[in-house]
Symmetry: C2
Subunit: 203 residues, 2 copies
């Protein structure tokens, strides 16, 4: 079974044998002959795939009543992958979603590491520092780099921990956030796992 | 006694009789004849004032050993104004500083409301919403506007409340944050109060 997670920059393919990415701007989806089960957050590509019979949109198999209309399908599929816990998907945004007994309880959106570093820099050049992910979150900062790192990371940490759930980390910056959430489970394949779980119910 | 808090956009004057602002780009500080006690976070204006004998920099009277070198003098002076508590100064950045028994314990920097709204918008046009300051912080969001509002505000709320201190709100967005911290004390004159307290010790 060939699975595909389509974002704003790449087609990410995965099967038992393979795991590879193709550029959204140059890859031709009609070049694939086998059946591809996909989710897609890219509106332009979505239009392209609707006419290809071997590309099957997995989102059609999801019971949407537990989610909300403008929620990204990648967040939804990640929620489908777990039974209980908090999913932190750290990409251009950091989405934090809570699932209890297979039901989505709600979630929030926090800026990703690149976006937030730019935010501080744009407020003042005096706040242009890389984040210190190894900051001691138990003591209040007394220097500028830690003052922004704590502002960005401790607030997220305190809120997520207050949810008192198991934490699943996924997305490109999962490893960075592992410094902040050392007991989290890093699960790079959460999206593909969610797709498989949805497909197992219907195929 | 004429006090002046100089920022990046204005000279803010205050005395018992008066409270007014002048534009930093057009106002001539040499036009003032009386003694002015000031703090200034604007490096260009700082250079201008050093040659004017009737402009007295209040920061010279502060015992800096409790603070750190790159900390803004406005944050320092606000800390001087209180004995115990958390100061949330909501401007282009939101600074959160903790004072215990007159001693600065540390603090952190979070993006201001305008900067953070731009951050979400720049991540995705799907996240371009005004923040909902009246959001229910006790339930996880199930719509996009609340998902970013909760991401911005609940994280700050949970962290600040975990400090278990009285909260002083100041800065241009103090009233907005009062929705989130309804028990906070709004103190518009925290900077001027801090200047007066420092001057009382030395004059």
């Amino acid at each position: 079974m060939l699975l595909c997670d389509i974002g704003n920059t790449s087609y990410h393919f995965q099967s038992i044998q393979t795991d590879y990415k193709e550029d959204v701007n140059s890859f031709l989806p009609q070049s694939v002959n086998q059946t591809v089960y996909y989710i897609c957050v890219n509106p332009k590509i979505n239009k392209l795939l609707i006419d290809l019979d071997n590309w099957i949109d997995v989102s059609q198999y999801i019971d949407m009543k537990n989610y909300y209309e403008t929620m990204g399908v990648d967040r939804i599929i990640a929620c489908e992958a777990i039974v209980d816990g908090v999913i932190i998907d750290a990409g251009s945004a950091i989405t934090v979603d809570v699932v209890k007994k297979n039901i989505f309880e709600g979630g929030f959106i926090y800026p990703g590491t690149v976006a937030m570093a730019k935010t501080y820099k744009d407020i003042s050049s005096a706040l242009e520092y890389p984040f210190n992910f190894q900051i001691d979150l138990n003591s209040l900062p007394k220097n500028s780099q830690d003052a922004i790192s704590y502002g960005y990371l401790k607030t997220l940490y305190t809120e997520v921990n207050s949810l008192k759930q198991s934490i699943y980390l996924t997305g490109g910056d999962a490893e960075k956030l592992l410094f902040i959430f050392p007991n989290a489970i890093v699960e790079k394949n959460l999206i593909f796992n969610g797709m498989k779980k949805v497909l197992e119910r219907v195929l």
